[in-house]
């Protein structure tokens, strides 16, 4: 059935922000605002949360040149474009803070989404990370440490073989929301997905 090969990935490079968040990188006047700055188009239903975190390399240094995107369901587990809350886009993009590299997303806590066989997944936010030195964008998921019952039932979490690594996908409650650090390599390396 396959007749073409997917275009091979290449790193986003150190200047990804020129193309994806030009206003953030100091290029003004081409686009009125950077895409993905806000996930809200009004007043979405659900519990407002802030997700904060950092992308950390194998030497423990926070990346200052990563671009992080998230995609998630609305508070009722529905996606934008598929009957989701019209005031919620579900998609956010963050270039990280200029000096600390930390990303922040103002969003709502997602509802549960069905797995293909009908079981419910635990609430989660899909993350996609690109940066200089990353040859193919990294997919991972953020789950919520305070959703213990749902996490036990989750089709992915319940099938992770290395149980001690599950904690790397759990965002911890923090001031105003949740903290989620992504460790690319080494101790407590985040689980990435081939999905």
């Amino acid at each position: 059935m396959k007749r073409f090969n997917e275009s091979p990935s290449q790193t986003a490079g150190p200047y990804v922000h020129i193309g994806c968040t030009p206003n953030f990188s100091g290029i003004h006047g081409i686009y009125p605002e950077d895409l993905g700055t806000s996930l809200f188009k009004g007043e979405p239903k659900g519990k407002r949360i802030t997700i904060t975190g950092a992308v950390i390399d194998g030497a423990g240094n926070t990346l200052k040149d990563a671009m992080v995107e998230i995609w998630q369901a609305d508070a009722e587990g529905r996606f934008a474009g598929r009957g989701g809350d019209p005031a919620f886009t579900g998609w956010g993009r963050s270039p990280g803070d200029m000096t600390t590299g930390e990303f922040t997303f103002e969003t709502v806590k997602p509802g549960r989404v069905a797995w293909p066989d009908g079981r419910l997944q635990a609430p989660h936010v899909t993350f996609w990370i690109v940066a200089r030195g990353i040859n193919l964008g990294l997919h991972t998921r953020m789950y919520f440490a305070d959703e213990e019952a749902a996490n036990v039932e989750d089709p992915i979490l319940s099938r992770v073989e290395h149980r001690q690594r599950i904690k790397t996908l759990l965002a911890q409650p923090a001031e105003g929301g949740y903290r989620f650090d992504i460790r690319l390599q080494g101790e407590d390396e985040t689980i990435f997905f081939d999905i």
């Binding site: 091979p8 990935s9 990804v16 293909p116 030195g133 690319l184 390396e189």
Partner: protein, 240 residues
């Protein structure tokens, strides 16, 4: 019951591996564990949708979109189609591009290359594919530029691109190179791609038929995203 559902697995032998030591930054930024494989679910089979209302009139004209005046450099048109692995066109999908100017200089505060900025060149553009998956933008051909990797490494002329497709599973960032550029075959970033065939699929072809006389040369460049799979009887039917 047959329905279109999910995406075929990514061929990770075709894409660059995470750890490619000749591209030095990958050493500390590559996971050591293998990625965990799962079939896609609705979380990956959906994605953001962008309407034409986000586009300004000059968003796909990098020659003019920074100040309105013309940028310096060889004027080119880049056009092609976004399709999936089975050849279906990908209509209404956002393509973002960014690049250095004709001298190889990026408009970025962390960039210290000696070549000057062009006051009329910003370096970013975007377009949305039409109903048949076609896209087009106009720009100046970027110059090669040196970078601190090996002692004397230079990137080939390249344009970065970012494509959304119709779902988060198809999300892709890559780079376009130019036909005939000898620097392609010396570059450690290009060299992260395991096969020559894979590299050649990122090389835009000079297209004299669609060049505009006395104005711009044309390059053709098609982008291929992951294909969907067909699933039969994904749930066991009652009584079976």
């Amino acid at each position: 019951m047959t329905k279109i559902n999910g995406y075929t697995a990514r061929d990770r032998a075709w894409h660059p591996p995470a750890l490619t030591p000749l591209y030095k930054t990958s050493v500390a930024r590559s996971p050591r564990f293998a990625p965990l494989g799962f079939a896609t679910s609705l979380s990956e089979e959906t994605g953001p949708v962008f309407g034409h209302d986000i586009l300004g009139p000059r968003d796909n004209d990098l020659i003019h979109n920074f100040t309105g005046e013309s940028a310096i450099g060889p004027r080119i048109i880049v056009q092609g189609r976004v399709i999936d692995e089975v050849g279906r066109p990908m209509p209404h999908t956002l393509v973002e591009v960014w690049q250095a100017n004709a001298g190889g200089r990026y408009r970025h505060k962390k960039e210290g290359y000696l070549a000057p900025l062009d006051p009329n060149f910003g370096g970013c553009g975007r377009c949305i594919t039409d109903e048949n998956g076609f896209y087009e933008f106009r720009t100046v051909k970027p110059g090669p530029y040196p970078w601190p990797n090996g002692a004397d490494d230079w990137r080939p002329a390249h344009i970065h691109f970012s494509v959304f497709g119709h779902s988060f599973a198809q999300r892709l960032i890559s780079q376009l190179y130019f036909e005939g550029d000898p620097m392609i075959w010396q570059c450690p970033i290009v060299g992260t791609i395991p096969t020559r065939e894979g590299i050649e699929s990122l090389v835009a072809k000079l297209d004299r038929q669609n060049s505009v006389p006395m104005d711009a040369l044309c390059y053709q460049f098609d982008i291929v995203l992951r294909g969907r799979r067909q699933t039969m009887f994904e749930n066991r039917m009652e009584g079976l």
